[in-house]
């Protein structure tokens, strides 16, 4: 245990100071920061369109000035003056609002090349004015008008049936579930690929440079194997803690930015502490662990440092496969998608999305988790055994030949014991 910690500490310290790990941790933050910054800049730099409202009735002009917050409104008595202003590019649009017998037949002229003017907003304000005009004409008081405008009530809810029990969930939770599932899928891909590659490279480099032999004369292959995994997983934990801390510190300032507020406005944070949230986290942890073990296995198969990229390839391929299936779920719940959601590796990306889209129940998710846990235990046991043989096989003939040599050594070792 003590020597395993020494190895884990060495792996951790070596990588935590490396430029590549620091870049790995900071690059998403920088990317997100730059995206939010650009979005904010674009939004704030977009000036409002200016619209000239031509009407003989001051109340109408005032109504527009008050009801069009996304536009600058200039009031005109004369159509000609407004049009001249538009020709001089001082206005982006001219809205003439004549009233005849209490009816509005407005006329909107848009300047080609001018800023975008929302006709929907204008239409809504016009309808409101027209409504009031008609109400006045029909001698309706404000209560009567309100009663007339009161919409019929329609309450909607989505009911989830799980093992004969029905439970309600609201739309906001649904969206949040979906958002988290998509985020988990993307995060899973990024983290498993990044940390998987790191483990594969770490082991492959040590094996390729023959440092491995010196280490294995001091500790058992199993101790070294788990020490490496522990070191890399500690890096992952630090990475996640860093992000959480960053979110905690940046939360308040971030929520002041319009674009972030809009993005997170529809998010139900209760999902994070719900069963679904827990399941998503379990899948995330399982995926990281399973991919890490796979990475250790492929890393131990290389013969020299030039083959390190070959060690990383299987991880990227399986990772992308899971991602593609997870995307496919959003198009519908096909039989293939159902099956793969129970398989190790890809299931961890697919099942959370199926759960979020209500294609799978919580029970289905736990079954998939159980399969993944059993697989992880068996796979780790096998990898630890194979690792001992792999790290001493230097087959220049490539991966497949290395795997064959590994099996022959494992067989010879089994017979010797």
């Amino acid at each position: 245990m003590h020597k395993m910690l020494i190895i884990a500490k060495q792996v951790f310290m070596k990588n935590v100071r490396s430029a590549s790990w620091i870049f790995l941790v900071l690059s998403p933050v920088l990317l997100l920061g730059i995206s939010i910054g650009i979005g904010h800049l674009v939004q704030s730099s977009q000036s409002k369109p200016t619209i000239g409202v031509v009407s003989s009735v001051p109340a109408i002009r005032k109504n527009f000035a008050d009801s069009l917050p996304g536009m600058k409104v200039k009031e005109y008595h004369s159509q000609d003056k407004a049009e001249t202003a538009m020709q001089n590019k001082k206005l982006d649009a001219v809205l003439a609002v004549p009233i005849k017998n209490g009816e509005i037949a407005a006329n909107l002229q848009l300047r080609d090349g001018g800023k975008v003017v929302s006709t929907k907003t204008i239409q809504a304000v016009l309808s409101q004015i027209q409504l009031q005009a008609q109400a006045t004409k029909l001698n309706l008081n404000s209560e009567q008008l309100q009663a007339l405008l009161k919409p019929a009530v329609l309450r909607s809810k989505t009911v989830v049936v799980d093992h004969g029990k029905a439970s309600t969930k609201n739309q906001k939770t649904d969206t949040s579930n979906h958002l988290i599932a998509v985020a988990i899928t993307v995060l899973m891909l990024v983290f498993t690929l990044s940390y998987g590659s790191m483990i594969a490279q770490e082991i492959a480099t040590e094996k390729g440079s023959r440092i491995m032999e010196t280490i294995l004369s001091s500790v058992s292959a199993t101790t070294q194997f788990f020490g490496k995994l522990a070191g890399i997983l500690a890096l992952l934990v630090v990475n996640i803690l860093f992000y959480l801390l960053l979110i905690l510190v940046a939360w308040k300032p971030l929520m002041k930015i319009d674009i972030v507020k809009t993005m997170l406005g529809n998010f139900d944070f209760g999902v994070l502490t719900s069963t679904n949230g827990l399941i998503f986290c379990v899948f995330f942890i399982l995926a990281v662990l399973t991919y890490s073990v796979l990475a250790a296995l492929t890393g131990s198969l290389v013969a020299n440092q030039e083959q390190v990229q070959q060690a990383v390839m299987p991880i990227s391929m399986i990772g992308l496969l899971g991602y593609v299936f997870a995307l496919a779920v959003q198009g519908g719940d096909s039989l293939i998608v159902k099956i793969v959601s129970y398989l190790p590796f890809v299931g961890a990306s697919v099942m959370p999305v199926r759960l979020a889209m209500s294609f799978a129940t919580v029970g289905d998710a736990w079954i998939s988790i159980l399969i993944s846990v059993i697989f992880l235990i068996l796979f780790t046991w096998f990898t630890a055994k194979a690792y001992k043989s792999n790290v001493l096989v230097y087959n220049q003939g490539g991966f497949l030949k290395s795997i064959r040599s590994t099996f022959s050594i494992m067989n010879a070792e089994r017979k010797s014991k």
Binding site: K3, I211, E213, T214, S217, L392, I409, A412, S416
Partner: protein, 298 residues
């Protein structure tokens, strides 16, 4: 004491090692020689518990050598490798910690080891900034700093210049004096002859020589003859029992079937009195190695 008894290992149909046995007492150096693929590295890997023997025992002080004994081991692999971007002191401390040594003890002794092997460079330098020779010295320090009781050196002299080879020899002798059991492999017979108390030669997994250097050389008898006389090449070749004749000027170098053949030649060479040279010697280790390699398998 390291005791190897009847060690056998096969990989499929290939016999990598066949019934190998030897012992190394504390303070003894054993040289393991043989061509590539003879079974030297397989022997080391079994002692190191990298692979399990099909048969045989590896005993350390009478008990089976297991992973519990890792801390008494010092191993220098044939192909050297350290972390190029890591600082030297961190690197040595890491490997020493894996052998159960404390970092403060490593730091306290590091200067002494740098001096002993004449390392050119600072302790805080990165390994990649050192010359190849100095990198090899660092690797040797990582092997020895914890003062192991059992030292395994796989081709330690390969790639070393004569000065560094001599420093390495001094290092090995120092460890021998401290009571360590040392086993190493080498292709350079002059090193082996100078350094080894005992010798094992492997050929296709079989032990073909086993004993002290003198025992092995003497077991062949004085079958090598240097002679300067009036005898011609043809006359020398005509003796029954002369296997090979080489000459350089008037001086001949003969390989004899048995030492007794020398007496016959001596009589013939000295029948007219004085001759400048007649020297009958045991073959060198290098010659024995070549003879053994050339022999057909039994």
């Amino acid at each position: 004491m390291l005791e190897i008894r009847g060690l056998t290992k096969t990989f499929g149909s290939m016999v990598a090692l066949d019934d190998e046995s030897f012992t190394i007492q504390p303070g003894e150096i054993m040289g393991l020689i043989g061509q590539n693929g003879a079974g030297k590295t397989t022997t080391f890997r079994m002692i190191l518990n990298f692979i399990t023997p099909d048969h045989g025992d590896i005993l350390w002080d009478g008990h089976p050598l297991t992973s519990e004994d890792y801390d008494i081991l010092g191993y220098l692999p044939e192909e050297r490798g350290l972390y190029p971007k890591m600082r030297i002191n961190d690197q040595i401390a890491y490997f020493a910690q894996l052998r159960g040594m404390k970092v403060r003890d490593v730091n306290a002794q590091l200067d002494q080891w740098f001096k002993r092997f004449n390392v050119k460079g600072k302790k805080t330098d990165k390994l990649k900034d050192l010359s190849k020779g100095n990198q090899q010295k660092i690797q040797l320090i990582t092997t020895l700093i914890h003062m192991p009781k059992l030292i395994i050196l796989d081709e330690p002299f390969s790639g070393l210049d004569p000065v560094n080879a001599s420093l390495l020899q001094d290092g090995i002798n120092m460890m021998r004096d401290s009571g360590a059991c040392i086993i190493y492999s080498s292709h350079d017979m002059s090193n082996v002859e100078a350094l080894s108390d005992k010798l094992i030669m492997l050929k296709n997994g079989k032990t073909v020589l086993n004993g002290t250097v003198d025992e092995i050389r003497n077991s062949y008898g004085r079958i090598k003859l240097f002679i300067e006389s009036n005898l011609t090449r043809d006359e020398l070749t005509s003796f029954d029992g002369v296997i090979d004749v080489k000459h350089e000027g008037n001086r001949f170098e003969l390989m004899l079937k048995s030492p007794e053949v020398g007496q016959e030649i001596f009589v013939a060479a000295t029948k007219n009195g004085y001759i400048p040279e007649f020297s009958q010697q045991a073959p060198t280790l290098d010659e024995i190695f070549r003879m053994k390699v050339g022999e057909a398998d039994a």
